[in-house]
C-alpha cells in the first residue's frame, strides 16, 4: 500500500496525516496524532475500545483505514469535553462507573451515539446499543450512567 496525505478533522481541528493508506484510524489517532484516549483492545472489531464518531456515526477505529477518513470529521473521547462538562462524563463520575477504565473511552462514545439517536433509551435499547467489552464488570453502572445522563434517574 502506498503512503498518502490525508486531511481530516479531529475534534474540530483540521489535521493532515501522511501515512500508509491502510493504516487503521485507531493507530493514526494514537501514534500519529497523540490522542491516546482511543484504545487498542483486539484489532478485530470485537471489544469496541476503539469506538469513535465519524461524521456523527459510531465506528470502530481499528477497522477504518486512513484512506477512508479523508475529509471526514472524527470525534474521540478527548473531544467529548476538555473539562468534564459533558453530561455523560458527569454521570460517569456520579455513578463511579470506571474501574481500570481502559474500555471506558469506547463505552462513552457508544453511549454518546446512543443518546444522540435515542435520548431516553429503554433497558432493551441500552442492551442492544452497548456491545463494548468491559472485563472489570462495570456494566450495571454503565447502564446507570446512561440513564443518569439521559435524565432518567
Amino acid at each position: 500500500m502506498a503512503n498518502v496525505n490525508v486531511s481530516l478533522t479531529v475534534n474540530g481541528q483540521q489535521r493532515t496525516v501522511s501515512a500508509d493508506s491502510g493504516e487503521p484510524l485507531l493507530w493514526v489517532l494514537r501514534d500519529r496524532l497523540g490522542l491516546t484516549g482511543t484504545k487498542y483492545g483486539c484489532g478485530i472489531e470485537q471489544c469496541r475500545a476503539c469506538s469513535v464518531l465519524i461524521n456523527g456515526q459510531l465506528e470502530k477505529a481499528c477497522d477504518v483505514d486512513l484512506s477512508e477518513v479523508a475529509g471526514r470529521s472524527i470525534t474521540t473521547i478527548e473531544g467529548l469535553s476538555p473539562d468534564l462538562s459533558n453530561k455523560l462524563q458527569q454521570a460517569w463520575i456520579t455513578e463511579q462507573v470506571p474501574q481500570c477504565g481502559y474500555c471506558q473511552s469506547g463505552m462513552l462514545m457508544a453511549a454518546t451515539a446512543l443518546l444522540a439517536s435515542t435520548p431516553k433509551p429503554t433497558d432493551a435499547q441500552i442492551d442492544s446499543a452497548i456491545n463494548n467489552i468491559c472485563a472489570c464488570g462495570t456494566y450495571a453502572r454503565v447502564r446507570l450512567g446512561i440513564k443518569r445522563a439521559a435524565g432518567m434517574l
Binding site: 473521547i77 462538562s85 463494548n132
Partner: protein, 1160 residues
C-alpha cells in the same frame, strides 16, 4: 513522524485540575508521560515540601500521596489515599494522587508496620496490607506539621495545637496558626514523640468518596502503559511463537522499514530468579506506529523449535492424563488433616455417601490492555514505564537483562488496563528491556498483539477434583475427602519442595470455613508444562466451585435447605463462624431466600472465606435451559471484609468479581491442540456483554473484624451459586466448567396421542433422542421404544403406567415433557408407522406397518373405505378402492381411529421413471440420444414418438442412451419401467437425410418404363420425378433402391428423389424414347415367396398375355397364363434362389424380390 512530539514533557502540566460533576472541584494527578515518578514528586516538593516518599505538600495546599502499588481498577489508590488523608486531617478535595514506581520504601509491609522485601499488588492485599503502615506515616506527618507550628511559634505549646483541614489551629480558641504549605519545609526536620492514630468516628475512612482516578478515565487523559509517549520514541512489537513452549530456530530477513530485529527471551515461561528464559521471540523495531510494528512482526519469517513437552500441551491428551492421575497418581496430603475421612467414608452406608468429580479449564487473564512496556536503556541506566503489578520484580529482571545494578533501574508504574494477576509476570518487560537494550539511547515502546496476549498467557491452572462426603442419618456431614489433580506454578519455577503441597492447589478446600469432623485434602501434582499464573482469587476460583457444589449435592440428596446445611457446619462458635452466620442471615433477607422466585427461575447459593478472612455469601437467580443457555438475572452478595474503607468501591469490586466470575463460569476456557492455544482473541474467548450482566445487590456487613481483602473474595462463590441454581432449575448437576460445555439433554417438545390405554404407541417429537437409554411414563419405564431419529422416538405405554409426564433419558441427561400423558382404559389405538407403496392407482395393494392392528375394523383412503386383510398385529394390507382420492390413510379399531401423517397419492406411481430432458434434441434415425431423468434403473422400453428403440443402454438411474429407431418420427420420448412410463415434455425431432441418386436402370425407355433407381437415404420418400415430372407410381424397395414408372408426359432429363429432408438428383439423364412399353410384361408380386421344386407359384403383373417363358433365376419353368395379369407356374427342379422372369415378345420382366427355392 509526529510520534513523541505531541505531548512535550511539561512539569507545569503535571497538575491537572478538572471541574467535575456538580461543580465540585475534582482533581486528579497522574504521572505525566515522560516524567519519572520521582521527578514528579520533586516537582511538587520544590513548591512545598516532602514528608517522605508518601506525602508531598504543595505550596497551593494540595497534598499529594504517592501510591505504592498498581492501580488496575480495584481502586486501592483511592483507598490508601483515604487512609493517609484521614490521619493527615486534610480535606478530601485537597488530595492528589501520584502513581509511584520502584522504590524499596514503597514495599508492601509484611506485618502491618514493617516494610517487606518487595513491591507487588496482588492477593487483595493493598488496602489491608498498607493500612497500618500508612496510618503511621499519616499520623507521623500530621504530628510533624503540628510540631513545626510549635517550632515556628514557640509560645504555643504542642498541647494547644491540632490539625484541621490542612491547617494547624489552636485548640483553645480555634485560631489559625499556619497552613500545611507554610509548615511543610520545617516539618521535615521534626521528630515528634507523640504520634497516635486518629480515633473514630472517621471523616474519610468508611466514606464512599469519589475515586481519584476517575476524572482522567472519562476524558481519555489517563495514561496506561500503552499510552506512554516519549521524545524520540520508536515503536516495537514481538514476533511470538505460535505454540507454547517453542524457541527461535532461524530468523528471516527483516521487512523494509524495520530498524532492528532483536532475539528476545521467550514469553509465558517461568522466570526463575537469576535466570532468563531461552530465546523465544523476535523483537521488531520500526519507525512506523504500533500497527506498523505489529504488521512487521507478523511478516518476518521465523522458524520455531518445539520443546520436548510442546506436543503434550493438548487438551484431549491432558484430560486423559489428569484422569489417570486421579485414579492412580501419588498424592500428598495437605495440612491440616482432621480425623480420618477415609475410614468414615468406608464406614458410611452407600446411601449416606456423596461423590462428585469436578473440573475447571485453563483460564486466560484477558486484560483489556495487551501486554506492553516502554523502556529507555543507556550505558548507565534503564528506565521503564510499564503497567506492572510487580515493580520490584520488574526492576530485578531489567537488571538481569541489562547487566546494570539495581540502583540504575527506574520503574514507573502507569495505570493498568486490568491486571487480574497477569501483570504479576515480567515476561513482557524482559522482552521490552531486551529490545531497548539493542537500541540504546532511544526509548522503545513494545506492544503485543491481542493474539499474542492470548497465546502467551500464564493460565489459571485446570483442575480435576473429586470430593467424597459421608453424612449421618440426620444428614449432617461427618467426613469430607477432596482429591485434587492440577499442575503447579511453584513446580514450574522450581520453588516447590518435593513432598509438599502447592497451597494454591488446595486453597479454599484445606482452609474452608466449615467445621468437618473428618477432613482430608490431598493433591496429585500434574507436571504438565502449560504456563501457569495467578488468576483473580487463585485457588479459590476453582476450589470454592468444587466444595460448594458438593455441599449443594448433599443438601439436595438429604433434602436440606442449603443455607441451613451451611449454618449447621458453622456451629463451633468462633468469631469467624459467628461472622459467617451473620453473612448467611443477611443473605436470606437480602435475597428473599424464603420467597420462591418467579416461575421459570431458580436460586442457588454459595459462600467462601478468603484473602484475610473476608467472608462472602452469594445467591444467583437463574433461568434458561442447557439447550437454550442460561441467564443470570440477579445476584445478591453479602460481604464482611471487616471494615469497608470505601463502601462504594467495595460494591464496585463485588460487581466486578461477579461479572468476571460469571463470564468464566459460563463460557471461558483456553484449549490447546498440540501446543497451540485455540482461542486467540475475543471472537472465540467469550467475554460477558452488558446485556448478560446481572443486577447485583451488595450488602456490606461492618463487623469490626480486622481488614480483609476486597478485590478477589467476591469471585469464588459466583460459579457454584450459578451451578447450584441450575441444579435446582433443571435437575442437572454441572460438574464441569464452563457451563456452556454442559451436554444437552433430550428435549420433548410434543407427543401424540396425548392419551390412551396401556399398549398405545406414542410418538415423541423433540431433540437429542439419539442413544436414548430409557423412556418413562410417569416414572414407569417403557419396555418397548424405538429411536426413529434424533428428533423422533416412539414408545409403547407400559403396563402399570399412570397418568403423568413422559421422560427420555440419554447419556446427556433426562428430558421431561411439559404436559402429562393421560393413561385411559380400553383398547389401544392402532399405531401406524409406515405404508408402502406411497402411491398407485385404484386397485393397488398397500401394506401398512404399525402396532395394535389386530382388531382393525376399517381402513380408509382419504375417507374411501377399502378392503383389507390383517396380516399380524403389526401389519395389514389394503386395496386402494375405486374412486379413492389422494389423502391420508386411516385405520380404525374399537379403541378409535388413527390417521397417517403422510398422504397416499392415488395415480402417480413415484417409482415410475420421469424424463426431464434429452440431448441432442434432434437427429436422424440411428443417432444416439442421451436421456436424463429419474428411476431409469430397470427400464424396459424407450420410445421415440411411440416407436420403440431397439437399442438402449441404462447408464445410471438418471441416464439412458438410446438409438433412434428406424421408423421413428418426431415426437416425445418416453421411458418405461415396471412401475410406469415417464414422457418428455418436449419433442425429439427425427431429421431425415437428403436422398442421393447414384444410378438408375435402364437409362432410357419410353413412357411407362419401370426404372430401378439406386442411391441412398431413400427413407420417407414423397416423390420421384423424371425431368421434373412426378412419377405416379413408385415403390421404395429399400433405403438404397426405388422402382418407379416413367409417367406420361415425361421428357428426357434427370431423375430426382424427394423426402422431407430434401431432394437428390441424378447426374445423368434418363432418355425418353418413342414408342411404347405396352405389351412388355411387368411382375408386381408373386406368392408364395418360397418353396421347393414343384411348388405352385402365382405371379401377378401386367401384359402376361402372350408370355413365352417363365424362368426361376434363369431356369425355365412350366406355366399357365390365367389372365393378362395372372400366371401360375411350378418351381422347376434345380433352380437356385433368385428372381422370377416373364418374357413375351415385347420384352422381359424380372421380379424385384427373390424367390427362395431352398437352393443357393
Amino acid at each position: 513522524m509526529s510520534a513523541g512530539t505531541n505531548k512535550a514533557v511539561s512539569r507545569r502540566g503535571f497538575l491537572k485540575s478538572m471541574l467535575g460533576a456538580g461543580g465540585a472541584l475534582v482533581v486528579g494527578v497522574e504521572l505525566v508521560p515522560g516524567l519519572s515518578w520521582t521527578n514528579a514528586a520533586a516537582a511538587v516538593a520544590t513548591a512545598g515540601g516532602s514528608l517522605g516518599v508518601y506525602v508531598t505538600i504543595g505550596a497551593d495546599e494540595t497534598v499529594t500521596l504517592t501510591y505504592p502499588g498498581a492501580e488496575m481498577g480495584q481502586g486501592a489508590s483511592t483507598g490508601l489515599a483515604q487512609i493517609l488523608a484521614e490521619e493527615l486531617m486534610v480535606d478530601w478535595s485537597s488530595v492528589r494522587l501520584l502513581l509511584g514506581g520502584y522504590d524499596p520504601q514503597l514495599n508492601r509491609p509484611t506485618n502491618g508496620t514493617t516494610l517487606g522485601t518487595s513491591q507487588s499488588t496482588g492477593g487483595s492485599n493493598s488496602v489491608r496490607g498498607y493500612h497500618d503502615y500508612l496510618r503511621n506515616v499519616g499520623a507521623t506527618a500530621r504530628q510533624k506539621l503540628i510540631w513545626a507550628a510549635n517550632s515556628l511559634n514557640p509560645s504555643i505549646p504542642v498541647s494547644d495545637l491540632k490539625a484541621v483541614n490542612g491547617t494547624v489551629v489552636r485548640i483553645s480558641d480555634g485560631s489559625l496558626v499556619a497552613t500545611y504549605g507554610a509548615l511543610a519545609a520545617t516539618a521535615v526536620t521534626m521528630t515528634p514523640n507523640d504520634v497516635a492514630w486518629v480515633q473514630p468516628p472517621y471523616r474519610i475512612i468508611g466514606q464512599s468518596v469519589p475515586r481519584l482516578d476517575l476524572p482522567s478515565k472519562v476524558n481519555g487523559s489517563a495514561v496506561y502503559g500503552i499510552d506512554i509517549r516519549l521524545p524520540g520514541m520508536l515503536y516495537a512489537s514481538v514476533k511470538q511463537a505460535p505454540k507454547v513452549g517453542q524457541t527461535v530456530g532461524t530468523i528471516g530477513a527483516a521487512p523494509s522499514g524495520v530498524l532492528a530485529v532483536v532475539p528476545v527471551p521467550a514469553a509465558s515461561r517461568p522466570v526463575v530468579s537469576g535466570a532468563l528464559p531461552p530465546i523465544g521471540g523476535v523483537g521488531v523495531v520500526t519507525n512506523s506506529t504500533t500497527w506498523g510494528a505489529i504488521q512487521a512482526a507478523r511478516s518476518i519469517a521465523v522458524t520455531w523449535v518445539d520443546e520436548a513437552y510442546t506436543a503434550n500441551l493438548d487438551t484431549a491428551l491432558m484430560k486423559t492424563r489428569a484422569a489417570g492421575l486421579m485414579s492412580s497418581g501419588t498424592a500428598v496430603t495437605a495440612s491440616p488433616k482432621v480425623g480420618d475421612a477415609d475410614a468414615a467414608l468406608v464406614a458410611a452406608p452407600a446411601n449416606q455417601r456423596y461423590s462428585g468429580t469436578y473440573s475447571v479449564p485453563y483460564l486466560a487473564h484477558a486484560t483489556m490492555e495487551p501486554m506492553n512496556a516502554t523502556v529507555l536503556v543507556t550505558d548507565a541506566s534503564c528506565e521503564i514505564w510499564a503497567p506492572t503489578q510487580v515493580q520490584t520484580k520488574a526492576a530485578e529482571a531489567a537488571a538481569l537483562v541489562t547487566g546494570l545494578p539495581l540502583s540504575a533501574i527506574k520503574v514507573n508504574t502507569t495505570y493498568l488496563g486490568g491486571g487480574n494477576g497477569r501483570r504479576l509476570q515480567v515476561d513482557f518487560i524482559i522482552q521490552a528491556v531486551a529490545i531497548a537494550k539493542a537500541m540504546k539511547g532511544t526509548p522503545i515502546k513494545t506492544v503485543w498483539s491481542r493474539e499474542d496476549d492470548f497465546t502467551h498467557d500464564y493460565f489459571r491452572p485446570a483442575s480435576l477434583t473429586k470430593i467424597d462426603a459421608a453424612v449421618d442419618g440426620s444428614g449432617a456431614i461427618t467426613a469430607i475427602k477432596a482429591r485434587v489433580v492440577c499442575p503447579s506454578s511453584k513446580y514450574q519455577t522450581g520453588t516447590l519442595t518435593s513432598g509438599t503441597v502447592d497451597s494454591s492447589a488446595v486453597d479454599g478446600l484445606v482452609n474452608a470455613l466449615y467445621n468437618f469432623p473428618n477432613k482430608t485434602v490431598e493433591w496429585v501434582l500434574d507436571t504438565i508444562e502449560v504456563p501457569l499464573g495467578s488468576w483473580r482469587s487463585v485457588g479459590n476460583s476453582q476450589n470454592c466451585f468444587f466444595l460448594e457444589s458438593l455441599l449443594d449435592e448433599v443438601a439436595i440428596g438429604t433434602n436440606q435447605d442449603p443455607i441451613a446445611l451451611r449454618r449447621s457446619l458453622l456451629n463451633s462458635g468462633t468469631p469467624t463462624h459467628l461472622r459467617a452466620l451473620a453473612v448467611l442471615n443477611a443473605l436470606v433477607t437480602a435475597s428473599n431466600w424464603n420467597t420462591a422466585p418467579v416461575s421459570g427461575r431458580a436460586r442457588g447459593m454459595a459462600m467462601s472465606m478468603s484473602f484475610g478472612d473476608t467472608i462472602v455469601g452469594e445467591v444467583a437467580e437463574v433461568s434458561g435451559s442447557v439447550a437454550s443457555g442460561f441467564k443470570v438475572h440477579n445476584v445478591t452478595v453479602v460481604i464482611d471484609c471487616g471494615l469497608a474503607v470505601n463502601p462504594g468501591m467495595v460494591k464496585a469490586q463485588i460487581e466486578s468479581a461477579v461479572d468476571q466470575g460469571l463470564a468464566a463460569a459460563m463460557w471461558q476456557g483456553q484449549t490447546f491442540v498440540t501446543g497451540t492455544p485455540q482461542k486467540r482473541n475475543f471472537d472465540t474467548y467469550r467475554m460477558a456483554r452488558l446485556r448478560e450482566a446481572p443486577a447485583i445487590n451488595t450488602v456490606i456487613i461492618d463487623s469490626g473484624a480486622k481488614l480483609g481483602g476486597v478485590g478477589e473474595p467476591g469471585l469464588p462463590p459466583i460459579a457454584p451459586a450459578i451451578a447450584n441454581a441450575i441444579a435446582r432449575l433443571t435437575g442437572i448437576r454441572a460438574r464441569n466448567l464452563p457451563l456452556s460445555t454442559m451436554p444437552v439433554p433430550p428435549v420433548i417438545s410434543s407427543f401424540t396421542p396425548s392419551s390412551g390405554p396401556v399398549g398405545t404407541v406414542v410418538t415423541l417429537t423433540g431433540t437429542g433422542f439419539t442413544g436414548a437409554t430409557a423412556v418413562t411414563f410417569n416414572g414407569v419405564a417403557a419396555t418397548s421404544f424405538t429411536v426413529a431419529s434424533a428428533t423422533q422416538l416412539v414408545a409403547t405405554v407400559p403396563a402399570g403406567a399412570t397418568t403423568g409426564k413422559i421422560a427420555v433419558t440419554t447419556a446427556d441427561g433426562t428430558g421431561t415433557s411439559a404436559n402429562s400423558y393421560s393413561v385411559t382404559t380400553g383398547i389401544p389405538l392402532p399405531f401406524l408407522a409406515s405404508f408402502t407403496p406411497a402411491s398407485g392407482p385404484a386397485g393397488t395393494l398397500v401394506t401398512i406397518n404399525g402396532s395394535n392392528l389386530t382388531g382393525t375394523t376399517a381402513v380408509k383412503f382419504n375417507g374411501a373405505t377399502a378392503a383389507f386383510t390383517v396380516v399380524s398385529a403389526t401389519q395389514l394390507t389394503a386395496t386402494v378402492p375405486a374412486g379413492a382420492t389422494t389423502g391420508k390413510i386411516s385405520v380404525t379399531n374399537p379403541g378409535g381411529t388413527t390417521t397417517t401423517t403422510a398422504s397416499f397419492t392415488v395415480g402417480l406411481n413415484p417409482l415410475a421413471p420421469t424424463v426431464s430432458g434429452f440431448s441432442p434434441t434432434s437427429g436422424a434415425v440411428g443417432s444416439t440420444v442421451t436421456i436424463t431423468g429419474s428411476k431409469f434403473t430397470g427400464t424396459t422400453a424407450v420410445r421415440f414418438n411411440g416407436v420403440a428403440a431397439t437399442v438402449f443402454t441404462v447408464v445410471s438411474d438418471t441416464q439412458v442412451m438410446a438409438t433412434v429407431p428406424v421408423g421413428a418420427t418426431s415426437g416425445k420420448i418416453s421411458v418405461t419401467n415396471a412401475s410406469g412410463t415417464g414422457t418428455s415434455s418436449s419433442s425429439y425431432t427425427v431429421t431425415v437425410p437428403v436422398p442421393t441418386v447414384s444410378s438408375f436402370t435402364p437409362t432410357s425407355g419410353p413412357i411407362g418404363t419401370v426404372v430401378t433407381i439406386n442411391g441412398t437415404n431413400f427413407v420417407g420418400v414423397t416423390a420421384v420425378k423424371f425431368n421434373g415430372k412426378t412419377a405416379t407410381s413408385f415403390t421404395v424397395v429399400s433405403a438404397t433402391q426405388i422402382t418407379a414408372t416413367v409417367p406420361t408426359g415425361t421428357t428426357t432429363g434427370k431423375v430426382s428423389v424427394t423426402n422431407s429432408g430434401g431432394t437428390g438428383t441424378s447426374s445423368a439423364s434418363f432418355t425418353v424414347t418413342s414408342g411404347s412399353t405396352a405389351g412388355a410384361p411387368t411382375i408386381s408380386s408373386f406368392t408364395p415367396s418360397s418353396g421347393r421344386a414343384g411348388t405352385s407359384v402365382t405371379l401377378t403383373g401386367t401384359n402376361f398375355t402372350g408370355t413365352t417363358s417363365v424362368k426361376f433365376n434363369g431356369t425355365a419353368a412350366t406355366f399357365t397364363v390365367v389372365s393378362s395379369t395372372k400366371i401360375t407356374t411350378t418351381v422347376p427342379a434345380g433352380a437356385p434362389k433368385g428372381s422370377i422372369s416373364v418374357t413375351n415378345p415385347y420384352g422381359t420382366a424380372t421380379s424385384r424380390d427373390a424367390y427362395d427355392t431352398g437352393i443357393g
